[in-house]
């Protein structure tokens, strides 16, 4: 436990050299405007990512993790009302006019989506998609862009890069498509990569290859990475920090190792216990009772309270995200029997 008393967020694996903060999200809220008024989707999300650091945004379907990512990328739907600050390398991008924001984000943010088949263009050659991006953002000539594209494909482990540039997405396997997405994401030398469930659609041996590649890229290019996933086990292996979301709220935030080993929030504990663990000989799992409340029908106070074994009258008022032991949790009754 004593080993964890290093609460300065910027200070993690590389002691001494303080790492620069790349992305900072402060009190981000997002609501959809519809006929009945505003439907809140995400409330009060705050976290920061330093260079070379991977932060996971974890939660089940409908918790708001992907929409949080789209708000950061600036591609939230038109009817979304967004509040709070998003700062990229010291510039408050949430306040920029769309055109300026696009110019900045095109160069400094790279995206990797879950389904490369829909995220990449089906009838443009892979080379065209890559060179368009490079020419637009970096102003390269056609020849330079092509050379650079081939170099990038080579770097992400795609054989016969020049041939592949002339090919189309449908000719590639799932793992190869995801490698093309990674090449595209790093093509303009970004400082931040946002990866939304990048390995969920892949087989386990391919998932492992792609995770290794992402990790290599992060280390080599000193990238900040926001990694959106539903799989806590991937988080433990791959990300230094984690932000656990439930029903549009951040419920726990801290170092992944701490959250995976001894979470403070009952929901995080529940997520861990619900997974059949490797070889623990259980004959029954410990599910979280009930279901995630539908968007817009969140209970007052703590949103997890109706499914929580520790809930009492106090949980009818909304808890704030506070430090409990080694992590931050939004809970009136955090778990204390932490090993």
């Amino acid at each position: 436990m004593t080993a964890h008393i290093t609460p300065l967020p910027a200070e993690t694996v590389s002691p001494g050299a303080a790492r620069k903060t790349v992305l900072e999200v402060e009190n981000l809220s997002l609501a959809f405007r519809n006929a009945d008024g505003l439907l809140p989707i995400v409330t009060d999300v705050s976290f920061a990512i330093a260079e070379g650091e991977a932060v996971a945004l974890v939660g089940e379907s409908g918790c708001g993790k992907s929409i949080t990512a789209s708000a950061i990328m600036g591609i939230a739907p038109d009817n979304a009302e967004i509040a709070g600050n998003i700062t990229l390398n010291g510039t408050v991008i949430s306040a920029l006019p769309p055109k300026d924001r696009r110019r900045l984000c095109g160069r400094h943010m790279g995206f990797i989506f879950q389904e490369p088949m829909t995220a990449l263009h089906p009838t443009l050659s892979i080379g065209r998609q890559m060179t368009d991006t490079l020419r637009h953002n970096l102003g390269l000539s056609h020849k330079d862009a092509t050379d650079r594209a081939a170099e990038l494909l080579d770097r992400v482990g795609i054989p016969r890069a020049r041939d592949i540039l002339r090919g189309y997405v449908h000719e590639l396997s799932g793992g190869m498509r995801q490698r093309v997405m990674i090449a595209l994401a790093i093509s303009c030398g970004p400082s931040l990569i946002i990866a939304d469930e990048p390995t969920t659609a892949l087989d386990v041996t391919i998932q492992a290859q792609v995770l290794d590649l992402l990790e290599d890229m992060r280390r080599e290019l000193n990238l900040a990475m926001l990694f959106i996933t539903h799989d806590l086990e991937v988080v433990g292996d791959f990300c230094e920090k984690a932000v656990v979301m439930y029903a549009g709220d951040v419920v726990e935030r801290g170092f992944s190792a701490d959250i995976v080993r001894s979470p403070a929030h009952p929901y995080a504990r529940g997520l861990i216990d619900a997974v059949p663990a490797h070889d623990d000989g259980r004959t029954r799992l410990t599910p979280i009772l009930g279901t995630v409340p539908p968007v817009g029908q969140w209970p007052e106070g703590c949103r997890f309270a109706p499914r929580c074994g520790r809930a009492d009258a106090q949980c009818r008022t909304r808890p704030s995200l506070e430090r409990h032991g080694v992590t931050d949790a939004r809970c009136w009754h955090p778990l204390e029997d932490r090993p």
Partner: protein
Amino acid sequence: MTEQSILSVTGLSKSFRAVKAVRDVSFSIPRGKTFGLVGESGSGKSTTARLVLRLVEPTTGSISFRGRDLAELAPRALRAERRHMQMIFQDPFGSLNPRMSVRETLVEPQLVHDIGTPSDRLRTAERLLAEVSLPRAALDRFPHEFSGGQRQRIAIARALATNPELIVADEPVSALDVSVQAQVLNLMRDLQDRHGTTMLFISHDLRVVQFMCDEIGVMYLGEIVEQGPRDRIYGAPAHPYTQALLASAPGKGSGQRARLKGEIPSAHAVPSGCAFRTRCPHAFDRCVNEKPAMRDIGGGQKAACHLLDKAEAA
């Protein structure tokens, strides 16, 4: 075979023209036990599941179910036998008829197999709903009114409606969130304990298979490359593919991970000799020329790998 197998599959193969989807698969499941088939996409596990139920006609091989060879049965006899085997599919959105109420969904299989009187059938539907922990009020609702987890419960209740001896579950929890997945897995184990149902369980998720299954077959490119009791497969995997699969699973910590190179080859062009040799870190010349035979390595565990010969010779 041993004990009292309710299902015993021998030399099962299926080709779709040039594609050899399933090649020479054999296994048997004792009554009341769960046999798991695990593998990556394209390994032939779903096709095997469909072959067992004869939803797909096998090219060769026999399927002995309750002492009869399903592969030989005439259509009418096969239909009658289907009463004793039911299936749960991956996608609870696609596998339930959107125009049928839950009541109709649960009564239909009984009607098809001419089980009971109308009031019996309704009572059974009500009982099934209670067994999968859905309220009675759900009877008159339609699939779109339920969440994914609830739909999968309905699909399970439907599978139980004819009181089958064998349930084939093809990735039944892959579409569900973890917290809901745990509920459904617990439910399946409860029902199995209560009814003594035998299960063929298909999944790509090693953790789920480990939790659910007594015996496991690992499939690669249409073949079972290793099979045996759960604890042997997870504790002492003998085939390099099984070893790699287990090492690739997340939650094992990063670093020093053994990684498989490349991807599963196309079933159009299965490599000569051992199908796994193109990705195997230990492949040597014999693997190119000679297909390894399945060999017994004790404790009910079998694997098809030339390395096992080497180990024995040494």
